[in-house]
């Protein structure tokens, strides 16, 4: 409930998860740092092996440090590898 129930009416935007349906969220995670060298952009890979942690939180009042309300509903970790080589 973003604003008080006494001043809300209608819906401006619906950010809830719709029922009986599957929705997909895409995340692109860059694994590099970037710097300028001789007028060119150079990218350095951070690690070839790394882990991606995915956590799904339900934050009914918008905050994580909100015990009794904030909930961690799901968590998983995936081991990732980007092959070395290929210039």
């Amino acid at each position: 409930m973003g604003r008080g129930p006494y001043e809300k009416s209608g819906l401006l935007r619906d950010t809830s998860i719709p029922p009986h349906k599957t929705i997909k969220e895409e995340f692109s995670i860059p694994v590099y740092t970037e710097k300028q060298k001789d007028g060119k952009t150079v990218r350095d890979i951070i690690a070839n092996d790394f882990t991606i942690d995915v956590e799904l939180w339900y934050l009914p009042y918008g905050r994580k440090d909100d015990s009794g309300n904030a909930q961690k509903w799901f968590t998983t970790s995936k081991a990732m590898r980007i092959e070395e080589g290929g210039k």
Partner: protein
């Protein structure tokens, strides 16, 4: 002979009926525009104090024989419906905000100070948080407002907290007052009955009848308070819960079939401890999550982009959008 007798007894019935109607009318407060509505709901006088209104809808007497149900209900938010979650009392706090930032600010509300708040002002919330407030005088609204301010200003004020929690969505709200939606079709709830899933006798002296409510197992029972959108029938429409709208217009069209009761009372095994995400049982039933991740080098002419792509698929298994609000 027998025809005569019949006509005679019919006349008697009409007479009795008439006089009881007059009686009911005499009992009504003189001033007030709700008189018509009131006949439909109750023939009693309006409650003048919190204690009186609480006593009319007291769940304690049901405890003697329905211990388990009572214990479960007591843990639910329905048992503190103008107070809100235990300790925090967010609903009470929001009632104060409604008066301070809403009613007092609005040019045409008739409220300049908390002492001006009457039943009709609180009904913009009580429509769902305490529908029986309709059967109370403004003195009860005033007492509620005093206790709301007392609690919000001092959360250790146990007396205020107790007074606010004594008013709630108790047994007789669901099993009597709100057990019939279509009153032209099915009549108004009978004071001496509890409404359940069948017609029978009931062991309780004060409510010797068990009556069938046609909606007890239907989503509309819960939908009465769980909101469709703006509450247009109010002079100043509010909007709080809209979840019944989502159930009707999103879940059902997508092929959903379960009722509120099936998920929240049966599958959850929580019975009358009707809960949402705050209980692990419900949280577990909420979503299916599927995660896929790939890592790769993306080459754009001479620029290399090491990256990972994560796709999270979320399937909402509830009977409505998550969250409500």
């Amino acid at each position: 002979m027998s025809i005569n007798k019949k006509i005679f007894s019919l006349a008697m019935i009409t007479l009795l009926f008439d006089s009881s109607l007059t009686l009911a009318n005499e009992n009504l407060p003189k001033d007030n525009g709700h008189a018509q509505e009131l006949i439909g709901i109750t023939e009693e006088k309006k409650a003048q104090t919190i204690a009186e209104l609480a006593a009319r809808y007291d769940s304690a007497p049901c405890m003697d024989c329905h211990m388990e149900v009572y214990d479960a209900w007591e843990k639910s938010l329905h048992a503190r419906s103008i107070f809100g979650p235990d300790k925090v009392g967010r609903t009470a706090a929001t009632l104060k905000t409604t008066i301070e930032n809403g009613l007092k600010e609005w040019a045409f509300s008739g409220v300049k100070k908390p002492e001006d708040v009457g039943v009709k002002h609180l009904m913009i919330c009580a429509k769902c948080h305490l529908p029986q407030l309709q059967e109370a005088e403004d003195s009860v609204a005033q007492e509620i407002v005093k206790n709301v301010y007392a609690f919000v200003d001092d959360p250790d004020n146990l007396e205020a907290k107790k007074a606010l929690q004594s008013l709630n969505i108790g047994c007789m709200v669901c099993h009597n007052r709100n057990a019939i939606v279509h009153k032209w079709t099915d009549g108004t709830p009978q004071k001496d009955a509890v409404y359940g899933t069948k017609d029978d006798v009931h062991m309780d002296d004060k409510h010797p009848f068990l009556k069938q409510s046609k909606i007890m197992k239907e989503s509309i029972q819960c939908g009465q308070c769980h909101g469709l959108g703006p509450n247009f029938e109010l002079e100043n429409p509010t909007q709080c819960a809209t979840l019944y709208g989502s159930h009707l217009f999103a879940y059902i069209p997508e092929g959903g079939q379960a009722t509120c009761q099936e998920c929240h009372m049966e599958k959850s095994k929580l019975g009358h401890n009707i809960q949402s995400y705050r209980s692990p049982e419900m949280a577990k039933m909420a979503l299916d999550v599927d995660v896929e991740a790939k890592a790769f080098q993306w080459r754009d002419v001479s620029t290399m982009t090491p990256a990972a792509q994560v796709t999270v698929a979320l399937t909402n298994k509830a009977g409505h959008a998550i969250p409500d609000g």
